[in-house]
Symmetry: C2
Subunit: 390 residues, 2 copies
């Protein structure tokens, strides 16, 4: 499992002391090669954390040797001083590992608007460098957790029987919205890839997985998804097979984020079918996953389909053409809305039976479809997020 | 106060029996003239309730004699049968009052996706018609309440000392988002206006008041704001003075909606200054009022300004140009963020002292500004909306 499952990688997770809780808070992932190929996808938020500014540039040449990740502080909205902290972190990692600091990517997560305690962090980097191990993936996955209750890991073998595989770890439980979902993700592979292939595969996979998770509609300043390729298997993968495996790895991690979202009691899959385009299907699904009223209703195990239609109706016609009088909605298989009006009795829907809820919206406007995942809106979400920084 | 304050209007509010609670649920407002001028602004949701479809057409000629409003059922997503119910209601009111049914506007509010019990409703219309009185405005304002805890009323005199005035009533406590906010509003005036003047004044006033309320990001299927002019004062108002008074009446009602929003413990004014345009200022303010994380933080009395910046950053540059590294944020007058980084100590901000919270965002990008109001995200909001239909 996780980032050290493919050959050519070592990792570590240690307690630097950044978190008041005393839990692990600093992770290091090192690519020992022979290749040092890397690709990254970052938040589309215009307000970005210092490590995003840094890593976006550092990964621009398609090369990276290591990723250092800290929880316990986002290093966002910390000004030029915050950027200097990130720069210094990369230099320190580079020196500890004997690699160019420009090949060190940095990720941070935690509270926005506070400087990181650099002495603590750099001592943690030394401890992590000393603890690096080919079995260190689980420790790394644990060290990047914030409000996550479980570490998120994946390991996907080559679908065509080849010997390469893809490993991955993720964190993220709140401020989860598309473009990207709020999170840090590191994916590793021992397949032989060039930077262009890695970048294309990563963009395609994230667009259909992490970008279709919207737990709470809030876009982060720190979202980062990285792919590192060591080439250690010596095998050049079939491109289609690699794309399938990477999308599966990303999909598993994205699903794990939803399953562990802050305070949630339901995972809600909103599937839009017969849309005029995939983009239209995503837009409609996203409008529904953003409805606080619907999310609160699902928390109350109330199949309030009127709130689904009210949300569908907010999508402009130029984005998603459909006729409101033909809309169908099914919740967990019960056709509660037919042709824009009342369908089966809503009391036939049992939302209490399972954590997963499936809402299917038929636009009768084409052949495309898409699914966006979200969570219900609960007392625990409000509680966790009203006290996060205090 | 309320819709019968200007001369030329009668109103009533009765208990038809549409609400299980037995509270008043049917209101009638009649314009006795001499003029029968009317204007309306409706939800921009594509999924609209039957009464919206009806009233949009009925008010199209700028003439209306009466408005019938019911709580206890939205008559939305009820198909052709639901539209027939609205049509029949207008006919019944027309017959009871001796006016053309095409001059009767209809508003409904309550649960989406259920037919109205027409026998109960039409008997209520008869009772309301019998109860019409020049003092009936308060009863009408009470009868349109759903989860509102108080009736919302206003009465604004002519600012220039003329004898005409503007009265109004509103309902709305949830599913409150721009375009319009979810609500029913009836405004009355005894000023002498023509239909074109009424329409222009109403559109301008709602754009700067109700459209800048966003309690929970959820756009309704039933939003309706109506203006009726009786001309009974015999005075033709100065257009600018009338616009000022109407915007004041709408502003007071919009503010009352926020003050009574479901489960809220704080009213939050998000003011964006030095924007490149008023549209840019509104877009940034709206992004912030949509942040569940910020709203939950305010509930916890936590001045988490990082969540303000994370929301500001989601607005595309083509909509609102600004440099993220120049952003300033003040919360209740404390400059917690300066130049995109850490400002004054956040512990200086006291959010527990008052219900009102003022967040001021300086974009340093121009001369325009705008304020959008929202509420905090609370346990009570989740509770009320997880059990609304059950």
């Amino acid at each position: 499992m996780t980032v050290t499952a493919p050959a050519g990688f070592r990792a570590a997770g240690v307690t630097a002391g950044l978190k008041p809780s005393g839990r692990p808070d600093l992770a290091l992932v090192v690519n020992d090669g022979p290749l040092a190929v890397a690709a990254g996808v970052f938040t589309s938020n215009r307000v970005v954390a210092a490590p995003v500014t840094w890593s976006r540039v550092a990964v621009g040449d398609g090369v990276a040797r290591a990723v250092v990740l800290n929880s316990g502080g986002a290093n966002a909205c910390t000004g030029p001083e915050g950027f200097a902290d990130t720069h210094r972190t990369a230099e320190h990692v580079g020196a500890a590992l004997g690699v160019d600091f420009g090949d060190v990517l940095v990720c941070s997560t935690g509270l926005i608007g506070e400087r990181l305690p650099m002495d603590t962090l750099l001592a943690g980097v030394d401890a992590a460098a000393a603890a690096l191990s080919p079995d260190g993936g689980d420790d790394a996955a644990t060290a990047i957790m914030t409000t996550d209750t479980v570490p998120k890991r994946t390991h996907v073998p080559a679908p065509d029987g080849a010997s390469w595989s893809i490993g991955g770890m993720a964190k993220g439980a709140g401020m989860l919205a598309p473009g990207l979902a709020t999170m840090l993700v590191v994916l590793t592979t021992d397949a032989v890839l060039d930077a262009e292939q890695a970048d294309a595969a990563l963009r395609s996979a994230t667009a259909r997985t992490f970008d279709r998770v919207d737990s709470d509609g809030c876009m982060s300043t720190n979202d980062t998804v990285l792919l590192l390729a060591s080439g250690a298997s010596g095998e050049t993968p079939d491109q289609a097979a690699f794309a399938v495996a990477l999308e599966r790895a990303c999909g598993e991690l994205a699903r794990a984020l939803v399953a562990d979202a802050e305070g949630a009691s339901h995972d809600i899959a909103v599937t839009v079918v017969h849309a005029s385009s995939e983009q239209a299907a995503v837009a409609v699904a996203r409008a529904v996953t953003r409805s606080n009223l619907l999310k609160a209703a699902v928390f109350g195990n109330d199949p309030n389909w009127g709130r689904v239609l009210a949300a569908v109706g907010t999508v402009p016609e130029e984005v998603a053409p459909y006729d409101p009088l033909t809309l169908d909605v099914a919740i967990n298989g019960v056709q509660v809305c037919r042709a824009g009006g009342v369908g089966e009795d809503r009391s036939l829907v049992d939302l209490a039976a399972a954590r997963e809820v499936h809402i299917r919206i038929d636009l009768h406007a084409g052949d495309s479809e898409a699914t966006v995942w979200t969570n219900d809106l609960t007392h625990d979400y409000v509680h966790e997020n009203s006290a996060y920084s205090t």
